[in-house]
């Protein structure tokens, strides 16, 4: 496998810059707050305690992982074999745990312990070759320590956004405005800037992970899998939530939403979805480059999508996991429906 060292050096330099900048700004802010406490003593603590609470939460609050459905290792024999093929080729470790999500996304996270998150929806229709390609892309992130940098940039971003929110909420027409207004403006601008630079980097490492996967499984194979994965995801996210909402309105709940998937993957839907996926454009606030950009970078001229709707055999006890995930997704949709209804209800 060839590695472009020049690109790696630049990306390493950029990631060091993001850490120096982020932690440098936080350190300066903490020192400035220390000076303010030194000058104003108890007055600062009395009037500006939300800032201190924000600092505490920003540094020490654990991220909200939400609901996680862990795939038990005894149920994941086939999936583990696929992962093993990649770990053998790359010399990387197996993930610490595999999380099954109710949606369609496939992602990785973890500072020291690697976590692979796989959307159940995609597992319905991807074949082994496709899944190998997509997981190879995720292992590209592991191999280049993207999840480690991602952890720290997330903490920095979290700190900045929390400070922005706290200072915004405390803006009132009183003398404390001399503290809160400049601090809010500072963190508002900083938040925009830091989001911009971290998303720029995020898009850049996606190309690198694509190249990593293409080197492992072949460019054409990876491109086919990538487009297929995006098409599956797009159709699922557009249609299945509508089904759930439709049944919720009739006070009914789908026991297994994945049973309703196969009929929606018609030739027409796939063609339309392909056009949508390829026409999608990225911008400065996108986490990923557009699919057309990624395919262009791999020099792919055409893709073949083989949609087999009789799969679903990557792990055991699939029904049990699917029903649990269906319950989670239905609850989320119910909550969203409730929020939308509440926002549309006139006040008073």
């Amino acid at each position: 496998m060839e590695v472009n060292n020049e690109t790696d050096k630049f990306e390493l330099m950029y990631s060091v810059f993001m850490l120096i900048f982020g932690f440098g700004i936080i350190l300066c802010f903490l020192i400035a707050i220390g000076f303010m406490i030194y000058i104003y003593n108890i007055l600062f603590l009395f009037y500006c305690w939300p800032i201190l609470v924000g600092i505490w939460l920003g540094i020490f609050r654990k991220s909200d992982k939400g609901y996680e459905m862990e795939l038990k290792s005894e149920d994941a024999k086939k999936l583990n074999r696929i992962i093993e093929k990649i770990t053998k080729k790359t010399g990387q470790k197996k993930p610490y745990k595999i999380i099954l999500s109710e949606g369609s996304g496939i992602a990785v996270s973890g500072l020291f312990r690697k976590k692979l998150i796989i959307g159940l929806a995609t597992l319905q229709l991807l074949d082994e070759k496709d899944l190998l390609s997509i997981i190879a892309h995720e292992y590209g992130h592991f191999a280049k320590k993207d999840t480690v940098l991602g952890y720290f940039t997330y903490r920095i971003q979290n700190f900045i956004e929390l400070q922005e929110e706290i200072n915004r909420q405390n803006l009132t027409f009183s003398f404390t405005i001399v503290i809160y207004l400049p601090t809010w403006i500072f963190f508002f601008l900083l938040s925009k800037y830091y989001t911009l630079i971290s998303l720029w980097y995020s898009r850049r490492v996606e190309y690198r992970a694509d190249r990593f996967a293409a080197d492992l499984v072949g460019e054409k194979e990876f491109a086919n899998a990538l487009v297929k994965y995006c098409v599956i995801s797009e159709i699922f996210e557009n249609i299945i939530p509508q089904y759930i909402l439709h049944f919720l309105q009739q006070n009914k709940q789908l026991v297994n939403i994945y049973d309703y998937m196969n009929p929606i993957y018609t030739e027409e839907n796939i063609k339309n979805s392909f056009k949508d996926v390829l026409s999608d454009k990225s911008n400065w606030w996108s986490t990923h480059p557009s699919i057309s950009e990624r395919l262009e970078a791999l020099n792919i001229k055409s893709v073949d999508i083989n949609m087999d709707t009789n799969l679903k055999d990557f792990f055991d006890n699939q029904k049990k996991y699917e029903e649990e995930a269906s319950e989670v997704m239905t609850q989320k949709m119910e909550y969203w429906a409730h929020l939308i209804a509440a926002s549309q209800t006139p006040e008073g």
Partner: protein, 190 residues
């Protein structure tokens, strides 16, 4: 179901991400960070001064010396000048008050004019002595503030306030006398 798609027609609609953008972001980031660090550095320099202005417990450190630690045992060569000036001031002040009382005790315009003139002279004599007190104080202000009844500068300021007030009274009385005297045929030259 197997479908094939051409992807090439979708290309070139998007701009690829460039390294130049990354370099510009980094440059901007270092400018921002440098600006913040510089601001913090400037703030740090001012913090001590701001804190001292606000914290009365530490007020004495505004001065380059410490009142509590001043050595009074060495004495001061200006003490005799100060003593002399103060005793002269006390004597002159008695004369001054005496003339002033005489002015207020008569209703005769000629006599009143005469006493007012003497009152003015007595005031000028006190001012002359007051300047001696100032000169003596300026020779060794630390000694006088720490060792010479601990309030020399306050004493000086109270005398100054007294003299300023007396000057106003003298002038006010003259403004009352002037039209009466002019009516009697006195001529005043400015």
């Amino acid at each position: 179901m197997k479908l094939s798609f051409e992807t090439i027609k979708y290309y070139k609609k998007n701009k690829r991400i460039s390294k130049t953008q990354g370099i510009l972001f980094m440059a901007l980031g270092f400018v921002i960070l440098g600006f913040v660090v510089y601001g913090l550095f400037q703030f740090a320099i001012k913090v001590n001064a701001i804190h001292e202005d606000w914290n009365s417990d530490d007020y004495s450190s505004d001065y380059s010396y410490d009142y509590q630690n001043y050595d009074c045992s060495a004495g001061s060569s200006a003490t005799s000048k100060m003593n002399e000036a103060y005793s002269s001031y006390d004597i002159k002040k008695i004369d001054y008050e005496l003339i002033k009382n005489k002015y207020y005790s008569t209703d005769n315009l000629d006599t009143k004019l005469d006493y007012h003139s003497q009152w003015g002279d007595a005031f000028n004599s006190i001012i002359f002595i007051f300047n001696d007190i100032i000169f003596a104080y300026n020779e060794d202000p630390l000694y006088f503030d720490n060792c010479y009844n601990y309030s020399a500068s306050l004493d000086i300021e109270s005398i100054r306030a007294y003299l300023d007030n007396e000057e106003i009274i003298i002038d006010t009385e003259f403004q009352k006398l002037k039209p009466l005297a002019e009516a009697e045929g006195y001529i005043f030259y400015e």
